[in-house]
């Protein structure tokens, strides 16, 4: 059966992705940052027993192909049978430009007048009937966040029609037409600034905004660390040590009291040791689920909150000046912050940047100097007992690398570094259910990515140990490790593991009995020398083979150089 193709189109940040997930039931990540949807998402929607394909087209301001997203959108428009144009009711005037362009294409169209509830707070009155008449297509007021009007929209989709009122025109004529329409359908009442708007102004004003940004970041960090440790201490550790541990030791010992299978499953030690035993069912589950997961959940909760409130674009404005010196601009804060959670979505988010040069710099800096949450959790876990000083050294070195490498790359990488041009959407009250759903999706993404790779990694390293390959490699790389970097030769196993997963790789440093200085150096090297395999694959796709080889070469050089320098300074 050939389903009709429905396209969902609209400008960035009009709530298009929310409309999409409301209509299809498919969860998509939406955020209060313009241009989050760059790939298109496809889902199906059932109306009156019929199945339609619904495609979420990347947000565009117009159909004139001045950017990649616009090119994609105007090409996709040709393939659609029905267009749902999502329009931000609070910004009707500038949204009408795209609406007119769509209507001129003589496709069956219906307009979703979204964020309808906000027009009341903003003192905007829109005569929907009149607008419908002037544009010549059905218009449904919606509030996608709360779901209001969505069922009306769904039931009206088949009533979408080709506008008889709008004819093809030039840009100038379009603006004139928009002026006329606005004059007839919209009235704006005078009103005072709301507290959100005052806060909005204060958060981009450097004098108030920079202290606010520092407070926000420290608060986020505090919540993640404090609550994360509480969850581990009172929930996860009791589960693992009191219930799961004794159970799994007994279970495995009962059918494999010793031998290869026993060692691979729960390690060689007779005592229960979740961190150092290196068994599939002990360390392989304890590290991702107990030591890392609580921090990952909290990180994504905080990130989703910042996104839904709409803080990220403000942060982008504040850091723009600094990032411009590195050949980037403010929007690069998005891949960087996402990368602090997991480098994979971070790598994908480099697409918010316009040019190849910027994407290369942002991706390379992230891969080298931005540790993911799993890695951070383990760095804190391993170095924490030696004191905060060592943790500060690790992050201080990574921060310096970010800046220094950026300063160099800006000069040696060819291409353009355009300036920031970014819409700063209003602050919005986040909806708790949407927030939890988004956090849940991201956490599931982490689990789907982390647990299989951790288990695979533990298995491979076990095999390498048993077969003697680790010993062989240790001997081979001993001169580099011990002489140049001051690390024990056993650290090679962790470096091998680091190709697959960084969290468990750092955990592998523990049984080596290293000093705080050595652990600090090893943590920095593990972070910089290579991204994990999942990130590598995504970066390869995003950057292409040639650029990825350049980035990888840089990583090796940087990690060796920094490792040697740190050895000279620290040891």
């Amino acid at each position: 059966m050939i389903a009709n193709q429905i396209l969902l189109m609209g400008s960035p940040n009009v709530g298009k992705s929310v409309v999409f997930s409301r209509l299809t039931g498919v969860n998509v990540i939406s955020s209060n940052y313009p241009g989050t949807t760059i790939d298109f998402t496809k889902g199906t929607v059932r109306i009156g027993g019929r199945k339609f394909d619904l495609i979420d087209v990347p947000g565009t301001y117009s159909l004139e192909p001045t950017s990649k997203a616009e090119e994609v959108a105007s090409k996709m428009l040709q393939t659609g049978d029905i267009i749902i144009n999502v329009v931000d009711a609070t910004n009707l005037e500038r949204n009408l430009y795209l609406a007119l362009e769509i209507l001129e294409k003589k496709k069956r169209t219906i307009i979703s007048l979204n964020m309808w509830d906000e027009t009341k707070h903003k003192g905007i009155d829109i005569d929907v009937g009149k607008l419908e008449e002037l544009l010549g297509v059905p218009i449904v007021p919606t509030c996608a966040i709360s779901g209001e009007g969505i069922s009306d929209l769904a039931s009206m989709i088949e009533k979408a029609k080709i506008s008889e009122r709008i004819r093809p025109m030039s840009e100038e004529e379009r603006w004139k037409k928009i002026g006329e329409i606005i004059g007839k359908v919209q009235a704006v009442r005078h009103r005072h600034h709301t507290i959100w708007e005052r806060l909005s102004d204060a958060s981009v004003n450097p004098i108030t905004g920079i202290p606010l940004a520092i407070i926000v970041v420290i608060l986020m960090f505090q919540v993640i660390v404090t609550l994360g440790n509480l969850i581990i201490e009172y929930v996860m550790d009791p589960i693992f040590y009191n219930y799961y541990g004794p159970f799994i030791m007994n279970a495995v010992n009962s059918f494999a009291p010793s031998g290869l299978l026993h060692d691979i499953l729960i390690g060689t030690a007779t005592e229960l040791n979740f961190v150092e035993s290196f068994g599939l069912l002990t360390t392989g589950l304890y590290v991702p689920l107990d030591m890392v997961l609580p921090f990952v959940i909290l990180f994504y909760l905080m990130l989703s909150l910042m996104e839904d409130v709409g803080y990220l674009p403000r942060l982008a404005v504040l850091v723009d000046t600094g990032l411009h010196r590195l050949g980037l601009h403010g929007s690069a804060i998005v891949p960087t912050i996402l990368g602090l959670g997991c480098n994979v979505p971070g790598a994908l988010a480099t697409r918010v940047l316009e040019t190849k040069k910027q994407r290369f710099i942002a991706a390379t800096l992230m891969a080298i100097a931005v540790p993911c949450m799993a890695q951070s959790a383990m760095i804190f876990g391993v170095l924490g007992k030696f004191g905060i000083k060592w943790i500060i050294i690790v992050y201080g070195v990574l921060f310096l690398l970010y800046i220094c490498i950026g300063l160099v790359l800006k000069r040696i990488v060819g291409g353009e570094s355009p300036e920031l041009l970014l819409e700063v959407p209003p602050y919005r009250m986040p909806l708790p259910s949407a927030l939890l759903k988004k956090t849940g999706m991201r956490v599931r993404g982490f689990l789907a990515e982390a647990v299989p790779f951790v288990l695979l990694g533990v298995f491979i390293v076990n095999i390498l140990y048993i077969s003697g390959a680790i010993q062989f490699l240790s001997d081979l790389f001993a001169p580099i490790l011990t002489t140049l970097l001051g690390l024990p030769e056993g650290a090679i196993a962790a470096l091998i593991m680091g190709f697959l997963r960084k969290d468990i790789a750092i955990g592998m440093l523990l049984p080596l009995g290293m000093t705080a200085e050595q652990l600090t150096i090893a943590s920095v090297i593990l972070c910089t020398y290579f991204p994990c395999i999942a990130t590598f694959v995504v970066l390869l796709r995003e950057l292409g083979l040639k650029d990825m080889l350049k980035a990888t070469g840089l990583m090796v050089v940087v990690s060796l150089t920094v490792g040697m320098l740190m050895r000279v300074i620290l040891i």
């Binding site: 500038r94 603006w175 905004g209 404005v317 723009d320 000046t321 300036e419 041009l421 819409e423 700063v424």
Partner: protein
Amino acid sequence: MIMSDKGDLVPLTTLIPGEMGRVAVLGHGRGRQLRFRTMGLIEGRMIRVVATQPMRGPIVVDAGGTQVAIGRRMATQILVERMG
């Protein structure tokens, strides 16, 4: 055209936070001009400077309820009629 006296036009970057101006000329290529207009920076409309970032950082303006951050070099090409 609302503008009659082009002599009073100044680059957007000369306005300080809190000052208002009326957009007169978007001195860029067609694509960029269109992007500005769809972001609310339309010739003849009033805009308010919300904030400017130090060290030649971006300037944030409010255009009819939409806030837009514009790189400083890009903003020098936007001419406005100062309205105080």
